[in-house]
Amino acid sequence: MPSEFEPRVVIFCCKWCSYAAADGAGLARMEYPSNAEIVKVPCSGKVDALYILKAFEYGADGVLVTGCLLGSCHYLDGNFKAENRVKFVQNLLDEIGFGSERLRLRFLSSAMSNTFVEEVREMVDHIRALGPSPLTLKKITVSE
């Protein structure tokens, strides 16, 4: 594994909580790794299993799904649905031998910019330690 490996991490952010927390991190000029990039969704419950799998297929080394604190979902229970779906995809990733550890789910509120930044840093460190995704290592050509 090349020592300078920098992973690509996709973060799904719910517009009510983590997206606002990320905005807050910007406002407070907190720094976090530039290789973690955000995709906005209206609710963590909107994160389709397809999006997670596509992100890995397209070359993400890690995917972080973020939603509101349990009990605080703007749509009542979207984050519980996200939890179920992420577990489902994690099982799937284990079954196909890809490993579930590249997919994480975290809950935070719009006010928790500090937590957001910590989680992102930790995720990037965690994926960096895991090394490149097996999909990018084998140089699978993505067919469209």
């Binding site: 690509r8 996709v10 009510w16 909580c17 606002a20 990320a22 905005d23 991190a25 910007g26 406002l27 000029r29 907190m30 720094e31 976090y32 530039s34 290789n35 990039e37 955000i38 995709v39 906005k40 969704v41 209206p42 609710c43 419950g45 909107k46 994160v47 389709d48 299993a49 397809l50 999006y51 596509k54 992100a55 297929e57 397209y58 070359g59 993400a60 509101c68 009990g71 605080s72 703007h74 749509y75 009542l76 229970d77 979207g78 649905k81 779906r85 509120s109 719009s110 006010a111 928790m112 999909l135 990018t136 140089k139 699978i140 050509t141 993505v142 469209e144």
Partner: protein, 653 residues
């Protein structure tokens, strides 16, 4: 799955420098060079301030003259200017939902130090936005008729002011208060800073006006139990606990209380006096009607028997009332932080340690001590120590500043000196003295001239000698010396926190609170009285500590926002709903099960039917739909997958 973007797509990419905010870190010129060659991109521009009049004109003219039909603006967070740019598209007669914002300020330039890394990340995000925008579909937002009524929750000074402003503008207001009387915390205060005018003298007329206003319907002893619907039409269920006294019949003569034999601590006087179980909450209570405290009542029946008007009915039942309103103002206020949680200050354990609210009641002329400041043994105190920031600015308790305690402490100095004479020794222990408001600094200077010891330092725990003398140590940072203070009385200027139940209200109204438990505002600067949810406004201490003047300003601001909406009569919804392709629907019914708002039903043939009026646009059904028949506008599967592909383009090798 992806058939590629429609053939006629023409994308315009507009990269904003935001002065130095983005331009100082991201090399905008090079970003433009990179994205220029991407498929379907026909216009690329960068400009210092894209949100300026000229910046927006660049977008409009690209749409009108070059035929651009998808717009990517790479700038600040969509929370900031998405609506601005949607309007720009609308002005150029392009559907406003054909806009995609690439957030390269909050997500890139403000969180990335190295310019090359920031530029690279900006390229990824803009490329993702371009890919997504190519697939965006126009969306016709539903027009919503605004129900011509406003719900105001909480009838402290903020709620009363908001209700009056809306009512004066000619609109119906439902004012809901949990306590038996309106007035809130301000009704408990003696005098207010920095003018030292009497709190009830300014509040009482306002309370009366609100209660008598023809457009205001008042619900006391009531709480909001459930809210359904969204901006324009909220169906609100109000639960009212019985008063057991007929509001129409009661004349507040007080006969009932004279007959009653059960005494309990009076919460209005913070437990410093007793009241009967049938009682008037306080002399100026509105409505001026007695109430029975059923929890402590022994059902002896004497009060009902002796009431000259027969106004007392033990058999009154709880009620549920449903009202329909177009907008909501939350003004649920604060509660004093519990002094028992700060064990080292021994409140409630040693005598003569008071919270500032207890002191307010003691100072009040018609309060439990008749306005006399006395120790528990009946003697007059010769020295009083006031401790600021108790529980505030403290990571173990409340991290935030309570914003009132400095000025309230100064006010207490002035009032105590007035009552007990100039010889009274007063020590104020403070961390920083913040006299920031209008007239505050001048008042501070006046109080400094009153022979007061100001000590910059945080006191140790409060102790007591075997003889009963209170004392504490404090390091005076100005004298560079440890001092021992032995006062007769100690006043704790307490931290404040959101009213208990704010979390539940946050769930009922579907609008979030911050880490400190106060309601979050839409934008710290540009949307201070708007909650994060459309059509719900916030005012006063429920959105963070403020003094009376600021509470009232916010209440009027929230009222004017509510009136604006009502006067518009019709607004366009600002959220998207799914599109249902009935041909693809297999009738499995999963969407019906997962929809949090019962916005999907099954037709006779088991296929789905969308009730858009109930839909709030979470998109959960679209994530669960196995056939892709349900697609959320602006977040359709092909749009998001394209965005991911754009983001990760070179990562897959």
């Amino acid at each position: 799955m992806d058939e590629g973007p429609p053939k006629d797509v023409k994308i315009g990419v507009f990269v904003c420098h935001c002065g130095e905010n983005i331009g100082g870190v991201v090399d905008c010129k090079s970003v433009v060079q990179v994205v220029k060659s991407l498929p379907n991109v026909i216009v690329t521009r960068d400009y210092t301030y894209m949100c300026s009049k000229f910046g927006q004109e660049l977008i409009r003219s690209a749409i009108k003259k070059k035929g651009v039909n998808r717009v990517v603006v790479a700038a600040c967070s969509p929370a900031m200017h998405e609506k601005t740019f949607m309007k720009t598209l609308e002005d150029a007669e392009l559907n406003p939902w054909l806009l995609e914002i690439a957030n390269i300020r909050e997500q890139v330039s403000w969180v990335t130090k190295e310019s090359d890394k920031a530029t690279e990340k900006a390229e990824h995000i803009i490329r993702a936005a371009i890919e997504k925008s190519a697939r965006l579909r126009p969306f016709e937002a539903k027009e919503i008729e605004i129900e011509q009524a406003v719900l105001v929750v909480g009838a402290g000074v903020a709620g009363i002011q908001a209700a009056l402003d809306v009512a004066e503008a000619g609109h119906k207001v439902y004012l809901v208060e949990r306590k038996p009387s309106i007035g809130g915390k301000m009704a408990q205060l003696d005098k207010t800073f920095p003018t030292l005018d009497c709190s009830s003298c300014i509040l009482t007329p306002l309370m009366g006006k609100a209660a008598d206003h023809q457009n205001i319907e008042l619900f006391t002893l009531s709480e909001v139990k459930n809210v359904e619907g969204s901006i324009g039409k909220f169906e609100v269920t109000i639960a009212r606990t019985p008063r057991y006294v007929d509001e129409e019949e009661c004349t507040a003569c007080g006969r009932c209380a004279r007959e009653c034999n059960v005494e309990v601590l009076d919460e209005f006087n913070v437990g410093l006096s007793m009241r009967k179980t049938v009682y008037l909450p306080f002399a100026q209570a509105v409505p001026r009607v007695f109430v029975i405290d059923k929890k402590h009542c022994e059902d002896c029946g004497k009060c009902a028997e002796k009431c000259p008007r027969g106004a007392i009915h033990y058999d009154m039942q709880p009620e549920e009332i449903t009202v329909t309103v177009g907008t909501i103002i939350l003004a649920t206020g604060y509660e004093l932080y519990d002094p028992a949680k700060i064990v080292s200050y021994r409140h409630g354990i040693y005598p003569n340690i008071r919270t500032n609210l207890e002191l307010e009641r003691i100072l009040y002329g018609m309060g439990p001590t008749g306005g006399k400041v006395v120790l528990e043994n009946g003697e007059t105190p010769k020295s009083i120590a006031i401790i600021n920031c108790v529980g505030s600015r403290d990571q173990n308790h409340k991290e935030y500043c309570s914003r009132y305690c400095c000025m309230s402490a100064l006010k207490n100095v002035a009032l105590l000196k007035e009552k007990l004479g100039e010889d009274l020794e007063i020590i104020v222990c403070f961390r920083d003295l913040r006299a920031f408001g209008k007239g505050f600094e001048e008042f501070y200077r006046t109080v400094r001239g009153m022979n007061v010891h100001f000590i910059r330092g945080t006191p140790s725990d409060i102790r007591r000698t075997p003889e009963g003398q209170l004392y504490f140590d404090v390091f005076d940072a100005t004298l560079n010396k440890m001092l021992r203070i032995e006062p007769d009385m100690i006043v704790l200027q307490m931290a404040l926190e959101p009213t208990p139940g704010t979390m539940e209200l946050s769930k009922i109204f579907g609008t979030p609170v911050g880490a400190d438990g106060f309601f979050s505002e839409r934008h710290a600067k540009l949307g201070p009285v708007e909650s994060v949810s459309s059509g719900i406004f916030i005012a006063g201490c429920c959105r963070g500590p403020v003094d009376i003047a600021d509470s009232v300003s916010q209440a009027s601001a929230a009222a004017s926002k509510a009136i604006q909406l009502l006067d518009k009569k019709i607004v366009k919804q600002d959220w998207v709903v799914p599109h249902l392709n009935i041909e693809l629907c297999s009738g499995c019914g999963v969407c019906v099960d997962v929809c949090p708002f019962k916005a999907i039903t099954q037709r006779e043939d088991l296929r789905a039917e969308l009730i858009t009026a109930k839909c709030k646009g979470c998109g959960i059904c679209t994530a669960e739909c196995p056939t892709g028949a349900l697609q959320l506008h602006h977040y359709a599967d092909d749009e998001l997958v394209a965005q991911l592909r754009g983001l990760l383009q070179e990562a897959a090798l």
